[in-house]
């Protein structure tokens, strides 16, 4: 085991911020390459004209998932040292639904709005300005929400834990699901697509 490098003390906090900036550049670059700096492109996902959001997201998920799985099997990466956000199922269901509504209303998500603003979209800038407003509202309401925010806690929990299945089986199932999803997406685009 040698990775995650940071957790094995390969470098300190100051260096980690430089790495954050470099990794962010890669993140922003591929978001923009994919067309995710454009609200019209992003919302097309929800009108079934162009399912690039699903395709890019699931290709990225499968790529990273297979990467960590193989690196962990090879004994290079200690998966237990990779941070997992703890599961709080009720606020995450509610928060997810609110995120979905905000996506359709505003046309971006937090990460893509930064890419959009960077390429000159003023609606992307307006979305970015809305982010601290919503966060401030949440913070001010937090004393009222806290009970709900802390409800349904299951700690750091993975899908293999939940379904009592071996890690590799779930990985394989996600790959199959993604391939099925890509095929389904191509059918939907043929039916509802505006291109070609």
């Amino acid at each position: 085991m040698t990775a995650p490098f940071f957790k094995y003390g390969a470098f300190g906090d100051e260096t980690s911020l430089v790495i954050a900036f470099v990794i962010g550049i890669g993140f922003g670059f591929f978001l923009e390459r994919a067309g995710f700096g454009s609200a019209r492109k992003l919302v097309s996902q929800f009108y079934l004209n162009d399912l690039a959001v699903f395709k890019v997201m699931f290709t990225a998920i499968v790529t990273a998932m297979l990467g960590v799985t193989y690196l962990s099997w090879l004994g290079v990466l200690d998966l237990s040292l990779v941070y997992l956000t703890p599961t709080y199922i009720w606020p995450q269901i509610a928060g997810g639904l609110i995120l979905g509504v905000g996506f359709v209303v505003g046309g971006y998500c937090p990460g893509t709005s930064v890419a959009s603003m960077a390429t000159g979209r003023l609606d992307g800038l307006a979305f970015v300005l809305g982010l601290p407003a919503g966060t401030l509202l949440f913070a001010e309401l937090f004393p009222l929400i806290q009970r709900f925010y802390d409800s349904g806690g299951f700690g750091q929990r993975t899908l293999p834990d939940v379904f009592s299945l071996p890690y590799g089986v779930v990985v394989f199932a996600v790959v199959l699901m993604a391939i099925g999803g890509f095929y389904g997406a191509s059918l939907l685009e043929r039916r509802f697509g505006t291109e070609r």
């Binding site: 490098f5 940071f6 790495i19 954050a20 900036f21 993140f27 922003g28 670059f29 978001l31 923009e32 390459r33 067309g35 019209r40 890019v56 990225a60 998920i61 790529t63 990273a64 998932m65 960590v68 990779v82 997992l84 956000t85 703890p86 606020p91 995450q92 509610a94 997810g96 639904l97 609110i98 995120l99 979905g100 996506f103 209303v105 505003g106 046309g107 937090p110 990460g111 893509t112 930064v114 960077a118 390429t119 000159g120 979209r121 609606d123 307006a126 300005l129 982010l131 407003a133 919503g134 966060t135 949440f138 913070a139 937090f142 993975t158 899908l159 939940v162 990985v171 505006t194 291109e195």
Partner: protein, 195 residues
Amino acid sequence: MSSNTDTLASSWSGAAERDAAAAHARSAPYSNPYLAGIGLGLVLLAAFVVMGRGLGASGAVGSLVAWLVHGVAPEHAMSNGFLSGYLGDGSVHPLKAWLVFEVLGVFVGALVSGLLAHRVATVVERGPRVTVGLRLAMAFVGGATMAFGAALARGCTSGQALTGGSMLNAGSWATMMCIFGGAYAVAWFFRWQWK
């Protein structure tokens, strides 16, 4: 791509926006989604291997708001259960946070990609029936809504769906499915924005 360009161009008027439409016509087509997805996945994998954490976006806004509130009303910020998490013990500046630097990188990376593809243009993306003011207001409200949802869900499309999704995090998969569910549930009611 052509029909998309036409609808964008026809919705623009005025000299500045004609220039923007011309810039749009010059712009390179977007990458193949599967290739862009592999690129994004490798960046995410690099974050896991090098840092032991994934990508994010909304967390940077949490740091920003915590810093702003702390600047105006320090005691109020420290006593707030949500903001105090971003402030820590006060020994480190709230903006000296991993996600803040990562999001600055997102801005630079997107700008580089946009410049290479001639896609940088000062425009307001909107449908033909929507005024500039209304579109900006909808974007602002959408941003505020997503920030609220992300705070509640402990992450957004980056930190939960993408990062947690690839780590097979149970709560992240629930969040991701609810993001798509919520979006599809209301999309029909907001189609006037783009038609």
